[in-house]
Symmetry: C2
Subunit: 416 residues, 2 copies
């Protein structure tokens, strides 16, 4: 019988929405592939009575309780106290954890506030889960056939602890039936149309298919269960192949692929390089292109020319700007060409647009022109226009630029 | 008696953590200032039976039910069907909504899939809430003294609908007792120490105080209720003044202030300008500095010099790099000086570091040097070192750079 799990997010900040609980979602996504069923998700504030009550109810109905948060050093951080009350044990200061904690502060030259000492607590039934990214170790508590796993609320700390400490142990103990998923990421087709195109496969036995609109296009998720990963994969593979046939090059990646990762791999493979000249995105495209590890082998540099004089100084012909406007297809292409020449790269992207809230030179907010220069004098451009606020326009512009760049690298450019 | 509200997030993707529910958190944060008490938060998948059941339970115990999601065009989007079943009414196609929907598709040159027509549905008890950012209008349903507000799941669409349509109406009808909060944002002091320093004020009657560790420092949140905003503010003001006295210039901003916004305001006020030269952050600092509306009045430009030759070409002396290494205090300062000169700005920031996962020239991953050049040849630098993965190192470097730049503008620089 599958293990019944339950997630309890602890923290008034989460209950009141002062911070968004990304941790529960992260864990919920991870459990299916371990064959663990998630039955409940709840949020409780920083109140010892309510924490203990919530833990007790979970103890009665679940095999595995995963808590997040409440492991900090302050009086509000009550997860340890709650678990101690749940299992009826007294916390004690573990000398090894204490030494590590004091060393952490000493290395940074801060005095350790004495309230931090509870981050060195353990229980007779608890072992510590190392947390090299912070001061709060997690707890793995095991008693009367139940497991309580307490992890810190800081996502970077939790995610490392989950992957390195908790998941491998759960996998070793419980994985019987696994769920395997494959996500295919498409671009250029609306969600309704993707849904219609994929519909013939919806009835495939043992397979679940869903479509999801995302910033980088519409994702198609295929899921299958099996006693082993191989068995589940054997169900997924023919469906995946059929979807690949239906969608062709509209599929740009799968699973954890990012556009910048896919582009980075293409450029590495071809030993080609890229640079940018950006106005409204102000370096966000360059920053995104440089995100993958090893980006220095293909990402050369970028110029942020926020003001018109900067564009001209960087090699954009003043006549182009005068004739077509600073926010125009022609200026975007001229920016791409100037970057390509200046940085000596195979490809270059130019972006100019109006984030808003006000129009610029009569151009409506939300309008962004993207130009790509490819080897051999080939250029292409793209205009996006949707006024959803500065931050969103900026992100969409970066995504559109990455998509155009990918097509340029694949030689699919419609020159224009 | 305060209105009892409940939030229901609808969507299997949210239940299974495939997307993170930021909407419930957003709404939860907004309700207190309307004097509306939030009692329940729940998540239900895309299943009509369970949606209706969840809505019925909410109908029995709450005055105001706010749903998010499930308003898309596909067969999985069942919020409208659920509400229709709840109130026992038949949906009909509203001609005006239908015309607007068809115009939306026509303007983009797409055919409208016929399944989209349900986005033009209404009920006798429902009026439409405009959604200029998408195709799905919201619903305001009122019957038997209860209100159901259905909003789309796309955060940008939901947030606009909330601010422009829903919140003003709720405020007009219900606001009796309001909660007012003030957040003071500090930097340079650990959470434990902030907690100790603020503790003398924790007992102030009618006031709640909490501290929260964030990427941009530790936040102190003061909350107070009152029959009117003025009454609540009168309680907050003396506490705020006392905290300002205790923390002094360690407080860099309040409430929705961002570091880039605070810096932008300082630069505008002083008619000064800024530029950057970035290596490991690859333009993310420039992009962040340019985020506030009106940034073009102080943000001039940036150079991303990802490779060493680019740094030299941009004016960093080759000898500096040879003598101290490309990731060094000296190179960071030289980058700042070169940007200051090239862009002719009052201030400039240089950043060089190692994101990882591998060391660079013997420098450990996570090491970042930040240099700031201020008017009159003043420079300062800062080293951060914490290896939490590429993305985190990058974000921390940007935050540290903004904090150093703020101190430079305020004339608090320790030249080094």
């Amino acid at each position: 019988m599958p293990v019944k799990a339950e997630i309890i997010a602890i923290g008034t900040e989460i209950l009141l929405g002062e911070i968004v609980d990304t941790n529960s979602a992260f864990i919920a996504r991870e459990l299916p592939e371990l064959g663990i069923d998630l039955y409940y998700k709840s949020v409780v504030g920083d109140n010892l009575g309510r924490i203990v009550e919530t833990l007790r109810r979970a103890w009665e109905r679940s095999d595995l309780i995963i808590t997040t948060g409440g492991l900090g050093p302050t009086a509000d951080d009550l997860t340890r106290e709650g678990i101690a009350a749940l299992v009826g044990e007294e916390p004690y200061v573990d000398p090894e954890l204490e030494a590590r904690l004091r060393a952490f502060f000493a290395a940074r030259g801060y005095p350790m506030p004495e309230s931090n000492i509870k981050q060195a607590w353990l229980l007779p039934s608890a072992r510590a889960l190392p947390n090299p990214r912070g001061t709060a170790p997690g707890w793995w508590v095991e008693k009367e056939g139940r497991i309580v796993v307490a992890m810190p609320g800081v996502p970077a700390e939790l995610e490392r602890m989950w992957r390195e400490e908790v998941k491998p142990e759960l996998e070793r103990r419980f994985a019987t039936e696994v769920l395997v998923t494959r996500t295919l990421k498409t671009i250029g087709i609306g969600e309704g149309t993707v849904d219609e195109m994929a519909r013939p496969l919806y009835g495939t036995p043992g397979i679940g298919i869903g479509t999801y609109a995302r910033a980088d296009g519409v994702h198609i998720r295929i899921g299958a269960k099996g006693r082993t990963r191989e068995e589940a994969w054997a169900r997924i593979r023919p469906v995946e192949a059929e979807l690949e046939r239906i969608f062709g090059t509209a599929i740009w990646g799968k699973d954890d692929d990012t556009l910048e990762g896919v582009i980075g791999d293409l450029l590495k493979e071809r030993r080609e390089t890229v640079s940018t000249m950006e106005s409204c995105t102000a370096g966000l495209l360059a920053s995104t292109l440089a995100d993958p590890p090893g980006a220095s082998s293909y990402f050369v540099g970028a110029l942020v020319t926020y003001q018109t004089e900067q564009k001209i100084a960087a090699g954009v012909p003043a006549e182009t700007i005068a004739a077509h406007g600073v926010v125009s297809r022609e200026t975007a292409i001229a920016m791409a060409r100037a970057a390509q020449e200046r940085f000596g790269t195979s490809y270059a992207v130019g972006i100019t647009g109006v984030l808003g809230p006000d129009p610029l030179e009569g151009v409506a907010p939300g309008t962004v022109h993207i130009g790509v220069a490819a080897p051999g004098g080939v250029t292409a451009s793209l205009m996006t226009s949707m006024n959803q606020g500065r931050a969103m326009v900026k992100r969409r512009a970066v995504t559109s630029a990455l998509l155009l760049l990918r097509r340029a690298i694949l030689g699919e450019l419609q020159t224009s």
